[in-house]
Symmetry: C2
DNA sequence: TGCACGATGTTAAACGATTAACACGAGGAG
DNA sequence: CTCCTCGTGTTAATCGTTTAACATCGTGCA
């Protein structure tokens, strides 16, 4: 009883060809009704539950699944509203075509990856049985991106540097919107909190800016551009995109003797954490200190956070569609963003 | 250039056997260093990115992935803190062994499933290339559970009815804890809000109780048991586990002329929504009305919700471990729960 | 000198399915 | 009566690997 039951054993037991059994499961119209039900009966009797998934994938070349690469701890990703919204969008489109979502963990970049970590992570990427993949925010030179395109898999990303298919927003322009908004409120001393691996609160030097995530860099460029030329802009690491590191970054910034009048964060999670920290220090946010976020996730509304809305859900839907139907969709789409002004920003108080 | 490059073509190009190429990628120690680097060089030159995932899965019988069945819209699941915590726990354990997570959508039960829907969903379950699966909360007779066990895959669940491997909590005992707590506060008229597909706010009759999710049913039994025998318990559908339906259920319950003094919800999401609705009606929660939740997700703390804590994260970790190492782990584990009393419950006001 | 042995490659048999291409008989059209 | 088509079933090639078993060959040791 230990022997596995296969298409062949069913065929033998039923006294038909393997083709017939295959057709019974995949193209019932190809068989006479009697034949089909006889085969299914035999299959049930033998405890055969249908064609093996791996074998079928190999033979047909389709996996009915698409991968999503995660370069942060998955357990953390599940607490990031941006990620969840994106996954939701992907799932919505995929559910229609009964396609599964494969979450592939890649060693998070903490302080440079060891070779062994990269190798192991790459093994996971190589072993994933998928028809395509989403690599949100990864650049062309990321090992996972390379592995995926080496495999010849359709790949969709959201980085501006992407050479292949991508769904983007105009991060620079969004930055300009934030910069102009703050400029209009007479802010001339702004801290920009970027999500970057590294200790939250640390100042990011001009040379280190090159190593930021592309979207951070672009937003930063935009913010500078939107502010008057003589404005002071300091760039501060926000660590991972989590409340705790947002609070830490806020603490560092607000402890400075010459603290800025406004803080522009890379995400609503960071922004909301900064608001919280400021409130905890007795500051009146929107008057003593202005704070902006990014994304406009639900959290932003409840925190009264001025932010830039980007259609994350739509981004996910679109990415999925691009993967499912590479020919029927454009290679590159730019989605609109919109500045959403709430109570967390206000004019610089006269002194 | 259209022809795919395979292990064989690399072998031919390098003038070695396919076995050598395979070893070069999988067991470098089996080959001399020169041979290995020569093969890798040829592979790179031909643009060969390593053994094909599907073929490898077929041959080795391993997929390095485990599935998670979702019987709700994925896009909704991603907003459910319980689900996210569970996924987080799973991911934490799986990341260690470089195993991916496959999210498999199954047609949500709305008003009975059509045959076609079930067939299509089952196809997705059958096509998934996985080594095992998690089916949280599904019963033995769910089609997905049947399909999975027919496939002979290790399966882990969290239902009390499960015949196979499972990680559970003692839902009945947790219910007793809630019932006793409310009884101690002199509540004798309690509405229990269960998550069940159906219109939120509708009364669930005694016969319909049999069709509830097993965990709901068990908690309900416990609550009745913990309350005095003469207490009135009405069971109300909470719809899906979402804020909106929680508010709807609350509205229906609180609109009744003889409204209960306490509402016990099946989840913190529902509980928090009920608190919110009650506040909106000008009620003082914890005095005019007591509310309890379930799970103790972060939301519960910020809503001041009395609830039962269950170690969801640990549940996920354990489930993953059971799947990765079926022999080294027990078949059935019961995790402890704990009543957490906060401000949302209080004594029945004297009249 | 003889021989067992470790290191390194190769042979070849699976793994479990899908699907063109073909064969065959029955029924309909001309 | 012949020819064509349509409906059903079969043959057999193929998908791209992995890995047990075997062959070969220089070495160290008695």
């Amino acid at each position: 009883m230990g022997i596995r039951v296969t298409l062949r054993s069913v065929a033998e037991a039923a006294g038909v060809s393997t083709a017939a059994v295959s057709y019974a499961f995949n193209r019932p119209d190809r068989l006479s009704p009697e034949m089909q039900s006889r085969i299914l009966a035999v299959a049930r009797e033998l405890g055969y539950s249908g064609p093996d998934a791996a074998a079928r994938s190999l033979r047909t070349g389709r996996a009915n699944a698409i991968g999503v690469i995660f370069t942060t701890e998955l357990t953390y990703a599940f607490s990031d509203p941006y990620v969840l919204a994106l996954l939701g969008g992907l799932a919505e489109t995929l559910a229609h075509s009964r396609t599964s979502l494969v979450l592939i963990p890649f060693a998070p970049v903490v302080e440079g990856l060891t070779d062994a970590e990269v190798r192991q992570s790459l093994a996971a990427v190589h072993r994933a049985v998928i028809d395509g993949a989403v690599a949100d925010g990864l650049t062309d030179d990321h090992p996972a991106v390379r592995a995926l395109s080496d495999r010849g898999l359709p790949l969709v990303r959201s980085s501006e540097t992407a050479t292949g298919r991508c769904v983007l927003i105009d991060d620079r322009q969004a930055g300009v919107d934030i910069g102009r908004h703050l400029a209009g409120l007479r802010h001339r001393d702004v801290a920009v909190v970027v999500s970057s691996p590294g200790e939250p609160g640390r100042i990011v030097s001009r040379v280190d800016e090159a190593a930021l995530y592309p979207y951070s860099r672009n937003r930063l460029v935009g913010i500078r551009q939107g502010l008057p030329a003589d404005a002071r802009v300091r760039v501060v690491s926000g660590g991972s995109n989590a409340s705790a590191s947002g609070r830490a970054a806020a603490a560092a910034i607000l402890a400075a003797p010459d603290r800025p009048t406004a803080i522009a964060a890379d995400s609503d999670v960071l922004g909301a954490a900064i608001v919280e920290a400021a409130l905890g220090m007795g500051l009146h946010v929107g008057r003593d200190l202005s704070v902006t976020g990014f994304d406009d996730v639900p959290l932003a509304a409840s925190a009264g956070l001025t932010t830039v809305r980007q259609p994350i859900h739509e981004k996910g839907r679109l990415m999925a569609r691009m993967l499912l139907d590479p020919d029927g969709t454009p290679n590159r789409v730019t989605l609109p963003t919109e500045l959403v002004v709430r109570s967390s920003t206000g004019p610089v108080p006269a002194r």
